[in-house]
């Protein structure tokens, strides 16, 4: 198994035949699709396609389990925001009145539409994270000529976030060993005492920064590129080549996006009036 940003993918997965740039392009473009599609069933179809892609990539789908409670909680929050906290709208169609709260059809419908837009966006992100490593992100950025300094800072930000979490655990365990433990205490107490973790964590981060700077200097690195007055060879990129199928995939994603935009703005497609799911829901709730 190869570790990715969010799980593991078997060493034999077909996803390795795809250039990292295509994966990044997929994330950036496909996650935009739901913004131009209001029909929930189409967005749910996109989500299903992404799930199929994950199966094709042989991603361990058990990783998705951690998102189920998040998805449910998010659904409830959106639903409550649009209905219970949706306000009074005399112009809307009243479906029911619960404990004095008016539930309107339009607000309920909009909640469902928003939720079904967010789900495929998250699925796209999860697909990217479960099939890409940090290195893929860097390669994708460098292959489109993003300056080395930018990609390097990005990579180090990814790495340092992990290090801060590790350091936080160390600080917490050290303080627990000295009798300071917030386990079982109220949230207010935890927030008040959080500074007890933050001060040593901050000091530790400063030390890490010093060590890291020393390591960079010792490796002859300078952000100005003055270390060597020659062009920097990008060795890592030599492991990846942008093949014909990568080009076809990028073209397909682009064409699909253009089709969606054309249908949306040229033919008023994906509108709610023609949504089967919304019409069915309306029939039930009326």
């Amino acid at each position: 198994m190869n570790k990715t940003l969010l799980g593991y993918v078997p060493k034999e997965s077909p996803i390795y035949f795809i250039h990292p740039f295509v994966k990044l392009y997929f994330l950036l473009v496909v996650s935009l699709f739901p913004m131009f599609i209001t029909q929930p069933e189409v967005n749910l179809f996109i989500m299903a396609v992404i799930l199929l892609l994950m199966i094709w990539s042989r991603v361990d789908l058990r990783i998705l389990r951690i998102y189920v409670p998040v998805a449910i909680a998010m659904g409830w929050i959106i639903l409550l925001s649009y209905t219970v906290l949706g306000g009074t709208h005399p112009e809307f169609e009243l479906l029911a009145k619960v404990l004095g709260i008016k539930i309107y059809w339009e607000r309920l419908r909009d909640g469902v539409v928003v939720y079904c837009r967010i789900l495929p966006m998250i699925a796209t992100m999860v697909f990217f994270l479960t099939t890409s490593r940090e290195r893929d992100v860097i390669v994708a950025m460098r292959s489109v000529r993003i300056p080395f300094v930018v990609t390097y800072v990005f990579a180090m930000a990814l790495r340092s976030s992990g290090m801060v979490l590790e350091d936080f655990q160390i600080v917490r365990q050290a303080e627990q060993a000295r009798g300071f433990d917030t386990t079982g205490k109220s949230l207010g107490y935890k927030i008040r005492k959080y500074v007890m973790y933050m001060i040593p964590l901050f000091a530790l981060s400063l030390r890490r920064t010093e060590e890291f700077t020393n390591a960079l200097v010792a490796r002859g690195y300078a952000f100005t590129g003055e270390a060597a007055k020659v062009k920097r060879a990008d060795y890592i990129l030599t492991h990846y080549s942008f093949k014909l199928h990568d080009g076809i995939l990028v073209a397909l994603i682009s064409i699909l996006f253009i089709i969606i935009l054309t249908l949306r703005y040229g033919y008023n497609a994906f509108s709610l009036d023609s949504s089967l799911l919304i019409n069915w829901l309306y029939q039930i709730l009326r």
């Binding site: 180090m156 060590e211 890291f212 700077t213 490796r219 002859g220 690195y221 060597a228 060879a233």
Partner: protein, 280 residues
């Protein structure tokens, strides 16, 4: 003999500290020599290493007196990056010195900084992974491998830059005995190929068989500087400065103290065994 490193009347005091970290250091290191530097904590060993790599005064503020020259040129006079091409530095905490996301990226990072060509990078990568036995780890994140492997990655990353002198600051302080041994096996190979190596180390059992010369630092000063065999005949001084000698050496020293032995102190277990065999 060519002096690769020349330090004359050198003192360094960090800003806002009451006393000098290094006092009046005079030191000459020849090309191809293997030098061990030992001393208690706070003796100034790391400061001396940083001074030779240009991290001091480049990255730290303080007061400097005297000169530190590499190949006859003072460290401050080197353009940024040029000195690091000549002097490679391995730090004690391997994880803190990683600058990339995979072992392979880590190994090529320094070479890319020096502007090496792709064929050259490929060739050196091949050489250094073979030397340090890291080939199977190339695609792994460096922070997910074992402590010993981490330190070998750190060492390999610097070696790949083929510096003229390699300085290791307590490279095995965070390692278990087996990993420690493997790091020293790499250093053994470097010694065989006539590299100039300076090792700051507490693990004397591993260091002694390799070192041509030993330096004792104490309270920021050179308390003793001699060829390895001679150096350890001054065990009284080493003990006084808080140095713990290897068991075999300590055993013969105790015999000397009790007037049971009057010869030279053995440096290694093998030498001690030979002495005991001779006595029997």
């Amino acid at each position: 003999m060519v002096h690769l490193i020349e330090i004359e009347n050198y003192s360094w005091q960090y800003l806002n500290t009451p006393q000098e970290a290094l006092k009046n250091i005079n030191l000459k290191i020849e090309q191809g020599s293997f030098v061990g530097i030992i001393g208690p904590n706070g003796a100034g060993k790391t400061t001396l290493a940083y001074s030779m790599d240009g991290l001091i005064p480049g990255q730290y503020r303080g007061l400097k007196h005297g000169v530190v020259k590499i190949r006859g040129i003072e460290v401050e006079e080197y353009p940024r990056g040029r000195l690091q091409q000549m002097v490679g530095m391995v730090f004690s905490d391997p994880e803190a010195q990683f600058t990339a996301m995979t072992v392979e990226d880590e190994l090529v990072f320094g070479m890319e900084n020096l502007g090496m060509s792709l064929p050259e990078i490929r060739e050196r990568l091949e050489w250094v992974t073979e030397l340090t036995e890291l080939k199977h780890l190339l695609l792994k994140p460096p922070y997910e491998i074992s402590g010993g492997q981490k330190q070998r990655v750190a060492l390999a990353a610097v070696l790949a830059m083929t510096p003229e002198v390699l300085i290791l600051d307590e490279p095995t302080s965070m390692l278990d005995p087996v990993s420690r041994k493997r790091v020293f096996e790499v250093l053994q190979k470097l010694k065989q190929s006539q590299n100039t190596v300076i090792v700051i180390e507490h693990s004397l059992e591993n260091l002694i068989p390799l070192a041509d010369r030993m330096i004792l630092l104490a309270d920021g000063e050179i308390a003793l500087d001699a060829e390895t065999g001679e150096f350890f005949q001054r065990l009284d001084l080493l003990l006084e400065k808080g140095i713990s000698p290897p068991g075999a050496m300590r055993f013969f020293y105790e015999l000397t103290q009790k007037n049971l032995y009057h010869g030279r102190l053995p440096l290694t277990v093998d030498e001690a065994a030979a002495l005991l065999r001779g006595a029997a």
